[in-house]
Symmetry: C2
Subunit: 293 residues, 2 copies
């Protein structure tokens, strides 16, 4: 198979784009998709100070690498979740990457904060991924605001986004659907949040990490076993295989056709945590409540 | 396995209802689901004159049988599509059923109308299922109104409804989503339309037809090969298998959470066909245009 762009031998085929690429043209393609994703939502510019949340996994590491290559002003943020072996191995990978690139890395240690995930899960008996997500979002926002950053960036890809959209659609959770888009504006004490990789699939991100020889953590979180999102990813991939292009159309037509209708109906949170000022539904935010347990 | 209701030996297991039934209790369950589906939308009462569209397949035949058993005042409507062998075989099954039950059957013959499906498909090169659906809906409405019926009934089951909802959701087709519900009111020259089997799956309908020894047409339409809805049915069944109850929740939470928002946005058709008066977007309706070809 030949590269669609330069006619050299292709190394990767992308059915949903009806294309095949050699290594160099794939990297070009990857950067172009990120740039397109950024421009489509006017996410940020090269003047902005970006903070990218990195877990040590392939998606966030690939994104951090790509943003550096594209010339953005970007620092990393790693949250050590306090999960034995897993979290320390992840921190090592992230630190090694940052020093090899000479970029700044910010670190939050949940053990030092008094709320390591295993302890939180034991005490609250909540679904690990749900409570962990809440805690991470809290620190993403806090570090971003305290550090004077303009945008908080996450490495969510098209598979993450469509599987979440699919899950929220299967049960028509309107309040979640209303927030499902690659750019959330700065409002109510929340920093602007952007997902510049929303046009790229998990497969494409893995290919990028492989071609760029990014040394990421392959281990998956011990708490994430049996997460329902992976089911939905599987089904969406099967549909994509039968009808290439379905995933991106599912996501894009959602913004275009559905989101404007839902946004009219959106009710905004007005409460702020009495302790730390973070927007919340109750008197205290989740993190402040957890710290008091 | 024992019957959940009477503790006799069960003949069928229904995971989404967390139940198993013997033959008699399954029939009770089936009738209860239809009655519940009718009541939930106030579809019709025993005083109304019902016209059920029957294709000769298991779903519409099962529904006709069940409505008779439940004591509704119901006549059948069969549309002979003019598809060699298939249509005549279907007509035979429907006629035999009607005469065995002593109920009235209305028949429309598309050959006599000058628009048999194979000819229409050849002339227009349109997707067969799409154009056939339009023609059928036209005659369902016409026969219903001309005959003074109160409601037109179709045998769509939960799998039909959820696969259609899924398809419209994958591409966020708002104007189709707005019409996706088990009861469409009488408006704009259209007869009230109801789908009383929306709570029952294809599997449950097949079991009913089997238990009731209904002699239906097993052949499938030669034009329906590769229809995308069957793909979506497959995926939804796989999801249902992993999480029983997902299909009915997908459909019910849609009415409850999403439809009220969409209905506010609904734009109603105001044009009527200059020739026959049927609501249409253009000057002439599809059927009148086809007859002129």
């Amino acid at each position: 198979m030949k590269c669609t762009r330069c006619k050299k031998e292709a190394e990767v085929e992308l059915k949903s784009h009806n294309a095949a690429f050699c290594r160099d043209c794939f990297l070009e393609f990857f950067y172009r998709q990120i740039t397109k994703g950024i421009k489509q939502f006017k996410m940020f510019s090269k003047k902005d100070r970006l903070l990218v949340a990195v877990s040590g996994g392939k998606d966030s590491m690939a994104l951090w690498d790509a943003l550096i290559e594209l010339g953005y002003n970007v620092e990393g943020l790693f949250i050590n979740l306090g999960i034995d072996k897993f979290s320390d191995a992840a921190e090592e990978k992230v630190k090694a990457f940052a020093s090899s690139k000479g970029v700044k890395l910010n670190i939050v240690d949940l053990k030092k904060e008094g709320i390591p995930i295993p302890e939180v899960v034991k005490k609250t008996r909540k679904v690990p991924c749900a409570i962990c997500g809440q805690i991470k979002r809290y620190y993403f926002n806090k570090v971003g605001l305290d550090g004077g950053f303009d945008v908080l960036i996450t490495g969510h890809n098209l598979d993450d986004e469509t599987s979440r959209l699919f899950s929220n659609t299967l049960h028509w959770k309107i309040e979640y659907l209303q927030d499902q888009k690659p750019l959330l504006p700065s409002e109510n004490g929340l920093l602007r949040k952007a997902k510049p990789m929303w046009r790229l699939t998990e497969f494409e991100t893995a290919v990028y990490a492989f071609f760029r020889k990014i040394d990421y953590l392959e281990m998956s979180c011990p708490f994430s076993k049996g997460a329902t999102f992976s089911q939905y990813k599987r089904h969406l991939n099967a549909i994509e295989y039968e009808s290439p292009g379905t995933k991106i159309d599912f996501y894009q037509s959602f913004f275009k056709n559905m989101l404007p209708i839902l946004e009219e109906k959106r009710e905004k949170v007005v409460n702020f945590c009495k302790n730390c000022g973070y927007p919340t539904f109750g008197e205290l935010c989740t993190v402040c409540r957890l710290k008091m347990l």
